[in-house]
């Protein structure tokens, strides 16, 4: 069976069968591998463990090997050590600077340590205060050690210099030890690296008490230092035969699913290729639709391509919706579904767009058609409701930030969602376009065609809209939306069909541009509305969390925290007697639910004697903690204690719980207290708190707009984070009235605060406590919207560029000429010329804005540092008082008063901070950075600002030395980390201001360039159009010059040229006519003369016979009469032939099956002896519209010529096919052929090589073919034969 005869392409067949064969191969391979694993498992089991161990050890060696390479590089910097050995301040500063460069280059901590272990120069995060314990004491000159510091475990390597005066130590984080993963904490995991490398779960720990939970057969590999001492352990779950078999099965299943997905695609393509030959358009389109969704559903069932790509792209946590019957449960699934939908709808549009139905003539059929269209429009509006719901779910069922103004380019997920919106909108518009084009085509044939089609469509649509509103009382979309969709549809149809009357529609790129641009116009307003709705919903959720009584939940969080802490001690992970570091409390806190949930909370660990060993708290003031602890220890063990405090007029609850700590042998180790504040979550206490939260709250932490929270009690303001509101401010009467009237407990109000507009939600809890919470969100202004428009526009422009490039590529492959019109070139040129300076200006402006921002930061840091310094100097008596009195509590009080958080360093080490938790958790470094130390402590610079990095966040820190009586006492540091949010807000505002305005300007530039280009190119386009008309033979064209410039002259010259051409053409026609008449007269005379001569001779002969009264005069009379009649018949025939040439009968056009007609014509010649007819017809019938009799005469004429050319017999071959939308008929004979010298005249009238013909047959045939838009040509080889080729449009 030859598949290509069914229209199936060879690659498709190959692809399908290769997939099937590959599936079989995968199955066989998996069976073989599984059998091998079973048979050799006894032998391989131990090898498997050894292999994992070897991989782990090698990976660890590579880790510290890299550190040794860094050390070698630092050691080679002889200038650094020369400066250090100078032992003067300038030398030390230079050494710090050089060290900093190495540290930044290799992204690692580098410490220079003297032989006693004291750090003399450093750069990067501090790992330990000193290296005494770790330096080799056995005469070795290098070492490797693993250290726990803050949130991370570090691996450090050190090498002694050749002069034995310094150790160079390099360190890098190895593992994040706590379940905290936000942008302030680097998510570094050696365990994950090992898990990926070995294929089994691997965890790293500093002691053997940690194991991978619930796995009994955990094995461990010790990690050893250079001397073979164990410094850490890695635990892994060994492979079992089952896990190996399962992994083989999983792997083969994955491949099989992938190959099945491809096979289904090939199968669908093959069926589609077959369906293209179906005569019924309905059937073709139905098959295409069914195939599209068959492939999509199969892919969903096979989890393709989700299984291949995975990640957040196919995760429900980014987006998930139940619509479309489970085909849209992630961003990726949505994209594939919407792509299929768009492909389907565009294919339908493409198939139906040029279909021209016959008009409706009678009133009854018009009414039936109008009713049908109204019903269709009702269904379409129902579809628009689905579309609006889809956009709603794109926003509401996702965690995406569509309007993140701090980022100029949207991330991949948001960009994909914008693409989804585009595809969905294109699908909707293409459906509408099909319908409107149908109305346009049908309406012209109705008796009411004097009414414009668009008006008829609008009336029907309006009526449908009314019907829909009657049926669906809550339409789920803004009412303007279906109207906007319809209006855009009308514009689209008008633009798409504008040039069709001239026979050429817009190009593919222009069509894509129209669809993309108009989809953008349709989608953006509804998207904007939905985003705004979601913001309001988020505000509502936030208010609900404030109003919700949380006692039970907080009690649970606290008791669960206690359970976690006790588990840690029972598992002997901590021992208060041994571990007295501050980090112990932080380590415990970081593992509790209090930390997970981001509550302001704390943990305090006490020794057996009640002495406090370690404390960590976040967001709770010292006073609050003291008050709670006093009550806590008055109560019973493991009983939740609650205190209520009045803070800024509002009640705040704090919860506490204490318990003794015991090890697994029930030995008393000490006790622990857990504290938790029920006040608002850390989010509203400042940005820094986010640093020690596991993840960010998605609602407003990333918001670039201000969110303010306020509380009213009994009609007056008691607390607020809104800058321009003041204490005791009365609640507005309007809100009070609406609260009383609407009875929902929620009132939205737009209000101007300062110079900004806010949308505020006022909410009252159930019950009569007189409290009203207010959450205010800064409103968007036009600039923000323009920035969003710019971002979406950029994505769609990029897509359009891709389409244009792909189109150009394919056109080039087909050797087609793709051109951009003159107007298009002008618009492009103006657009490019307009956008380049805009981009340059935008880039420059952003640079300037960034620099100004940096300057502002430096200025702010400087004033903050001075403020802190003044407060400290005002409160502290002398240097001794400074060292003792400036503690965390002192800093906290000052920070609360002046609103600036800060830290104080005693030379290089931290003395105190208003945010000690950030230093205790080691999120911020408690060691002064090397360069800051060099500049502020050694050089005593009045202000030093350095950029530092914590996790993924880069921030600036200002340092200032403090002096007492001109004697250095310490360093004040103000990090902007606390203000990161303000900085991002500032950046977002600048983005909106700069790029929002530029978007407006760019839009104006584009519109202006279009207008100007249109104006400039109009004369050229008119000239082109006129030239086309002239080319088609219309010489009555005349253009009106619109200017006196070159283009005006060109127009005038063109008009002159056309006039001359017309005159010349008329002259030529007249000459040709005369010539034709002359030729005709000559020919007629010649033809008439031929019979006249025998007639004259016969009549003369007859006269002579009668004159001589000959006997046989009767028989001669008979002979002459016959001759005369014959010659008169000849004259009559001549007259008929000329008459037929001069005037053809009226044509009767009808649908003709060309092959059937050829068959009928061949039948007429079947009895001709010695002539064989061979036919090669196309497989499918070829229909065209023509005069059947006329076409039959053409074929008969050619057949007769062929028969006459083969006096001794021969073969006539008749072929038919469809080539390039034309029906091609080839008729070949094996006759004597046409001589070269006469070849050029065969289609001329009166030319014939035969003696009995008039020479008009082929001339008449050519005229008949040309009149229906076809061509007739021939090729002839003398004595071989002649082939006539007739090409007719289908």
């Amino acid at each position: 069976m030859k598949l290509h005869t069914y229209g199936i392409g060879r690659p498709v067949v190959w692809g399908f069968f290769v997939c099937l064969l590959s599936m079989g191969a995968v199955r066989i391979i998996s069976q073989v591998v599984s059998e091998n694993a079973r048979s050799s498992w006894a032998k391989d089991e131990s090898h498997s463990d050894l292999k994992i161990q070897a991989t782990v050890i090698q990976a660890f060696q590579e880790k510290y090997g890299e550190l040794f390479r860094i050390i070698e590089h630092v050691k080679s910097d002889s200038a650094l050590f020369a400066e250090l050995r100078r032992s003067d301040e300038q030398g030390t500063v230079e050494a710090f600077t050089r060290l900093s460069r190495h540290s930044q280059r290799f992204e690692s901590t580098i410490d220079i340590v003297d032989p006693r272990g004291t750090i003399v120069a450093w750069s990067g995060r501090s790992i330990t205060s000193g290296y005494e314990r770790f330096l080799p004491h056995n005469g070795g000159d290098s070492f490797v050690v693993i250290l726990q510091s803050g949130l991370h475990t570090y691996v450090s390597a050190g090498v002694l210099m050749e002069k034995k005066d310094f150790y160079v130590i390099a360190s890098r984080p190895l593992e994040l030890q706590f379940p905290i993963s936000n942008r302030f904490v680097s998510r570094i995991s050696f365990s994950d690296e090992l898990t990926r490398a070995t294929g089994t779960e691997v965890r790293i720990a500093l002691n053997t008490t940690s194991q991978i939970h619930s796995h009994e057969k955990t094995r461990f590999v010790p990690l050893r230092d250079l001397d073979g001492r164990t410094i850490a352990y890695t635990f892994f779950v060994p492979f079992t035969l089952n896990t190996i078999l399962q992994s083989v099965e999983a792997e083969s299943g994955q491949w099989t699913r992938f190959l099945t997905a491809l096979a289904v695609l090939f199968f669908a393509v093959a069926v589609w290729q077959i369906s293209r030959r179906f005569p019924s358009l309905l059937l073709r389109v139905t098959v295409l639709t069914v195939l599209t969704w068959l492939v999509r559903l199969t892919w969903r069932i096979l989890d393709f391509p989700g299984e291949l790509i995975g990640g957040n792209f196919f995760s429900a946590t980014v987006y998930s919706s139940p619509f479309y019957f489970g085909l849209t449960t992630s961003v990726g699934e949505l994209f594939v579904s919407v792509f299929a939908l768009c492909l389907n709808s565009v294919a339908i549009w493409y198939n139906l767009r040029d279909h021209k139905p016959s008009g409706l003539r009678d009133l009854k059929s018009v009414v039936a058609w109008v009713v049908g269209m109204v019903l269709f429009f009702v269904l379409f509006i129902w579809g628009v409701r689905g579309y609006a719901e889809a956009i709603r779910t794109f926003v509401f069922d996702s965690t995406l930030e569509y309007q993140d103004a701090s980022a100029l380019v949207p991330d991949v997920y948001v960009s994909t969602m914008y693409m989804n919106i585009l595809l969905l909108t294109t699908a909707v518009l293409s459906i509408l376009t099909v319908a409107l084009q149908h109305v346009r085509n049908v309406w012209r044939g109705t008796p009411f065609s004097s009414l414009p089609w668009w008006l008829a469509s609008t009336i029907m649509y309006g009526f449908s809209f009314g019907l829909f509103m009657l049926v669906s009382s809550s339409p789920h979309f803004p009412l303007y939306h279906p109207i906007l969709v319809f209006a855009v549809g009308l514009v689209l149809v008008e633009l798409l069909t504008r040039n069709n009357s001239a026979g050429s529609g817009p190009s593919f790129t222009k069509t894509a541009t129209l669809f993309i641009f108009l989809s953008f116009v349709v989608a953006m307003p509804i998207l904007d509305v939905r985003i705004h709705e979601k913001e309001r919903q988020q505000v509502r959720t936030l208010v609900d969390t404030f109003l919700r009584p949380v006692d039970s939940w907080l009690s649970f969080v606290l008791t669960d925290g206690l359970r976690t802490v006790r588990d840690q001690f029972q598992a002997s992970l901590f021992d208060p007697q041994e571990d007295r570091s501050n980090s112990m409390a932080f380590s415990l806190w970081a593992r509790t639910l209090m930390s997970h949930e981001g509550f302001n909370s704390g943990v305090i660990v006490y020794a057996q004697d009640g002495k406090e060993l370690s404390r960590f708290s976040v967001g709770m003031t010292t006073f609050e903690q003291k008050e709670l602890l006093n009550k806590l220890f008055d109560g019973e063990e493991e009983t939740v204690q609650v205190i209520e405090r009045v803070e800024s007029g509002a009640k705040e609850k704090s919860y506490g719980l204490w318990s003794s700590l015991r090890d697994e042998n029930n030995r008393l180790l000490g006790s622990v207290a857990l504290m938790l504040s029920a006040s608002q979550r850390a989010l509203f206490r400042g940005e820094a708190i986010e640093a020690i939260r596991p993840v960010s709250l998605p609602a407003f932490e990333s918001s670039f707009r201000e969110v303010a929270v306020s509380e009213f009690r009994r009609g007056s303001l008691v607390s607020t984070t809104m800058n321009d509101w003041y204490g005791s401010m009365p609640l507005s009467d309007d809100v009070m009235d609406r609260m009383a009237r609407e009875k929902t407990g929620y009132v939205w109000k737009t209000e101007i605060v300062g110079s900004r507009e806010f949308e505020s939600l006022y909410a009252a809890p159930e019950g009569p406590d007189g409290r009203i919470m207010v959450v205010s969100l800064e409103s968007h202004d036009l600039r923000w919207h323009l920035l969003d428009v710019l971002k979406v526009f950029m994505i769609y422009a990029a897509l359009l560029l891709c389409i244009a490039v792909v189109n150009w590529f394919f056109a080039k492959r087909k050797s087609e000429v793709t051109t951009i019109g003159f107007r298009g070139k002008l618009v492009s040129a103006f657009g490019i010329l307009g956008i380049i300076p805009l981009f340059l200006l935008g880039y420059y402006n952003r640079q300037v804005a960034s620099e100004r921002l940096q300057e502002n930061i430096t200025r702010t840091l400087s004033s903050d540092l001075e403020l802190v310094e003044q407060r400290i100097l005002g409160a502290v008596l002398d240097e001794e008082d400074f060292q003792r009195g400036v503690n965390n509590d002192f800093c906290e009080v000052i920070a609360a008063e002046i609103g600036v958080d800060f830290a104080v360093f005693r030379r290089s080490e931290l003395l105190s901070s208003s945010r000690p938790e950030l230093y205790q958790s080691k999120i911020l470094d408690s060691r002064l950075p090397g360069r800051a130390f060099a500049n502020v402590v050694l050089l005593e610079k009045a202000l030093y600002v350095e950029s530092e990095t914590v996790g993924e966040v880069e921030y600036a820190v200002g340092y200032k030395p403090v002096f007492f009586e001109r004697k250095f006492a310490g360093v004040i540091a103000v990090p902007t980390l606390y203000r990161q949010r303000e900085i991002e807000e500032e950046l977002a505002q600048r983005n909106a201001f700069v790029f929002g305005v530029y978007t407006l300007v760019f839009g104006l530039v584009l519109v202006m360039s279009f207008v100007v280009a249109n104006r400039l190119s109009r004369p050229i386009r008119e000239l082109t159009k006129a030239a086309d008309e002239v080319g088609k033979g219309n010489l009555d064209v005349s253009l009106k010059p619109t200017s006196s410039d070159e283009v005006g002259n060109l127009t005038r010259t063109f008009n002159e040229m056309v006039r001359e051409l017309k005159t010349s053409r008329e002259e030529q026609k007249r000459t040709e006519r005369e010539m034709a008449w002359k030729e005709m007269a000559k020919q007629v005379a010649h033809e008439i003369k031929n019979p006249l001569t025998p007639m004259r001779l016969s009549v003369q002969h007859l006269r002579q016979v009668f004159k001589e009264k000959a006997r046989n005069r009767e028989s001669i009379l008979q002979q002459v009469s016959k001759i005369l009649i014959d010659q008169i018949d000849a004259l009559s025939r001549i007259a008929t032939e000329f008459s037929r040439f001069a005037k053809m009968p009226e044509r009767k056009f009808e649908r003709v099956d060309i092959q059937e007609l050829l068959g009928e014509s061949v039948l007429l010649f079947r009895d001709v002896r010695g002539i064989e007819f061979r036919t090669k017809y196309s497989d499918t019938p070829i229909h065209l519209v023509a005069d059947k009799d006329e076409l039959r005469r053409v074929f008969i004429n050619i057949f007769r010529n062929g028969v006459q050319a083969m006096e001794r017999g021969g073969v006539i071959t008749v072929e038919s096919s469809v080539e390039s939308n034309c029906c091609v008929v080839r008729i070949s004979d094996t006759g004597i052929g046409i001589p070269h010298e006469t070849g050029s005249r065969v289609f001329e009238p009166n030319f014939s090589t035969k003696t009995d013909g008039m020479g008009l047959g082929l001339a008449i045939s050519q005229r008949a073919i040309q009149d229906i838009g076809g061509t007739i040509t021939y090729q002839s080889v003398p004595q071989i034969g002649t082939t006539f080729e007739i090409s007719l449009p289908v």
Partner: protein
């Protein structure tokens, strides 16, 4: 041209996805309406978790649910929460579950219990915490945590 409307109707029917959303909303409203007290709702949730059948309690999800699982947490829409939990229970097949601690009185009912599940052939366990809140005089799930 009779077939053009037919085709378009056929095709518009594929555009019906948004309507499913409305149907679900209606189903949800009915389910929430039928479950008037917190204790009954918590029992339904318990049974649903035990069977790994999220659809049994998904109608009770608030429009924004605070969800915490496998190190991820945040506010998710009810549809997202349903999908996320369905995926979770597909991977972690529940073996047994019951609430060990109830608080079905007051304005903020909650329940917590230990979930035992099978993961790649091994038994694992996790703590499940569910918290309800009253919204427009109906109980809804506002928090679903799996530690």
């Amino acid at each position: 041209m009779r077939f053009v409307p037919c085709i378009i109707v056929l095709f518009v029917s594929t555009l019906a996805f948004g309507q499913v959303h409305n149907l679900l909303d209606r189903r949800k409203a009915i389910a929430v309406h039928q479950t008037s007290d917190a204790a009954t709702m918590l029992q339904k949730i318990e049974k649903g978790i035990e069977r790994g059948s999220v659809s049994e309690f998904s109608p009770f999800f608030s429009s924004q649910v605070y969800l915490s699982f496998l190190g991820q947490e945040g506010y998710y829409s009810s549809n997202q929460t349903t999908s996320v939990l369905q995926n979770y229970f597909q991977t972690m097949k529940p073996l047994s579950f019951s609430f060990s601690s109830y608080q079905d009185k007051g304005n903020n009912p909650y329940a917590t219990g230990r979930l035992t599940y099978a993961l790649k052939g091994t038994r694992e366990s996790a703590q499940v915490y569910v918290s309800l809140a009253r919204q427009e005089s109906k109980w809804v799930i506002t928090q679903f945590n799996i530690y």
